[in-house]
Symmetry: C2
Subunit: 384 residues, 2 copies
């Protein structure tokens, strides 16, 4: 049953009271738990740390913690949320490579022991603010093959990582190992091969200096069910295992402990954004559909039309046609899909429901505080 | 003194307690009141309706209402905020051209009488939800010359506006007139000429049908002091007056009442975002400066590097060099300026202050609810 869920692009929408005021995120934490377990089975021996930034809802964190999931955090507030949900501080990885000094101090005081860095400056900062901690050094990847690539802002080269981890060791930190991120909603399971090989080169070089890193953070990037499809999770497990075998086992290097930081692939399919059509207008030859949710109520990942949600409507069944999909605010940037219009029923009219599927990740957390006077997107807990 | 303020690009930063926790918006409502009065003087006979969406802080709205400013609103929440600040409902224009039906009903119940439409569908909706109201029909403009053009999402052609206002009249609505928007941070005062001429054609055509529109909404677009400069406000007043004279007076058409909907030009210069440097890193040949505020704490207008804030730092005075400016979240999209790097002091280091000037508009209102566990940007009221 879990496997059927993993492979089916047609998740049944949650039963939704027709009278409920939209928009909202219908979130089912049990789906996230199933996805966590599937990832854990797919990556045997690899610890799964859910990326809290994707959706920090307390009920979600509690369900995941209860199922044995660990967490990936980016701030003291996320540390506190995980501890409140029942996680232990030793099971957290603080993956933000550039941190406020007081945030490091506070997180260390809360018990966090593992921090990601990607520069000598940040390594010194961690050594001063959280002496004796363990550090992972983040290396850069190409981001190729992902819908939301991350390559510009973080990460160093493999040779730089050798120097940074050597510095960490000299400063009394634990040179734990390497982290990387192949980009969010990564459609190519082969994307892990190159950074795993780079990590192995760093591990080998450090061993030559008498430093023994022990941990490899394989990042996130595992997909949710967005438009365009992606290989099943099992394909990612197989590709990661192949990469580890080739770069470590076959090369005679001791294989490090491994962890992953999935966000979207855990909670994406666990949520649906339920909206109502405000208007259907014809502007020239173009049909414009205006929803009561948009970029500023959380659908930020539609910027540049990067993430394409699968859509379902209360008017489904008849013929469809292209339309531009827009949000409710006065802002011209509040347009979800225009360059590549979406196909929606020709019968779609004011008052119909439009559901954005697999929208549990990077949606409510991106909502504004209330731009144009529209409330932030609320979450409604559901059970399927 | 007020004029000196208008023309000087070098507003003195507000005195800021060094110990205060950043980031925050330092907001001085008295500056917004001065800007409102300057706009009112520059556009004699034109009613000034502050666009609440730019910054809805209650103290700001109260100061503006107390000075006689009217308001432009986009939702019932903004209507209620204006009424709470002391505005009267008759002085509000509801300028969101595509509205939820229940939002129209609620706003009409609160006393709003003037709604913007841009389609036959929306005109019928207003006629049903707020019978007997007055409507302005929004026509499309090119957006040329503005930093944040608005042309895609709203507006109809002038011939369509004639039909829509004729329909409004037939449905028992008041066909009040025309609205348009030349795009936010519009650097060309001449941008008003073409839409004013188009509006005059609509007024003339309607007069031929026995319908007498009486109101012209000249929109917003008046600038704040961002990088790159813009003509003084007086140049906009002169250009608007010339456009009205040519298209109405010289054409023998009765000149309508006029209103403007400034947001940025009222509150932009009244606020500064105060941030702290989290880290200065060298990635290859590039210097990266990480601040404790970014895209997800409200600096959304830096997307595509559209709005370029003037910057001041606590390390100013020595030599400067280019750098990329990034925000504090793990998100790769949280980069303010990269394609066109900014010039900042070479001495800039962790813990220094970086102030984003003229950031009172479209900043706090765009802040997320707390992405990555970082709080929404707070506002601190100051007085210069």
């Amino acid at each position: 049953m879990t496997l059927a869920l993993a492979h089916s692009p047609a998740l049944a929408p949650a039963p939704v009271p027709a009278a409920r005021v939209t928009p909202y995120l219908a979130l089912d934490p049990t789906v996230a738990v199933r996805r966590f377990r599937m990832l854990a089975r797919t990556l045997p021996g690899t610890a799964v740390h859910y990326a809290v930034k994707a959706n920090p809802h307390p009920a979600l964190l509690a369900a995941l913690a209860g199922a044995g999931c660990r967490f990936d955090v980016a701030s003291p507030a996320e540390v506190r949320a995980c501890l409140a949900a029942g996680a232990v501080a030793d099971d957290l990885v603080y993956s933000n490579p550039v941190k406020r000094r007081d945030d490091i101090t506070e997180s260390a005081a809360l018990g966090v022991r593992l921090f990601v860095v990607d520069s000598p400056e940040e390594t010194r900062k961690v050594a001063e603010a959280a002496p004796g901690s363990e550090v992972l050094c983040r290396i850069v990847t190409s981001g190729e093959g992902s819908d939301w690539p991350l390559s510009r802002k973080y990460g160093c080269s493999a040779p730089q990582a050798v120097e940074i981890l050597t510095l960490a060791d000299a400063l009394g930190l634990g040179a734990a190992g390497i982290s990387f991120h192949v980009g969010s909603q990564q459609r190519d399971p082969g994307a892990w091969a190159s950074p795993v090989a780079a990590a192995a080169r760093v591990f080998a070089a450090l061993a030559g200096r008498g430093i023994r890193p022990w941990l490899l953070d394989l990042g996130g990037g595992f997909p949710a069910h967005h438009e365009g499809g992606a290989p099943p999770l099992a394909a990612y497990g197989a590709a990661v295992e192949t990469a580890l075998r080739r770069s470590f086992d076959d090369a005679g290097l001791p294989r490090p402990r491994t962890l992953v930081e999935p966000g979207r692939s855990v909670v994406g399919d666990a949520g649906e954004v339920v909206t109502t059509v405000v208007a259907v207008l014809h502007r020239g030859d173009t049909r414009w559909v205006y929803l009561d949710a948009g970029v500023f109520t959380g659908m930020v990942e539609t910027l540049d039309e990067a993430i394409r949600y699968r859509l379902a409507t209360s008017a489904d069944g008849g013929p469809t046609g292209p339309c531009v999909l827009a949000g409710p605010t006065c802002d011209s940037a509040d347009v979800l899909y225009e360059k590549r219009p979406v196909q929606l029923p020709l019968a779609l009219a004011e008052g119909d429901r439009v559901v954005l599927r697999s929208a549990g990740a990077y949606s409510t957390c991106y909502s504004t505080v209330g731009f144009n006077g529209f409330d932030p997107m609320p979450t409604v807990l559901v059970s399927r």
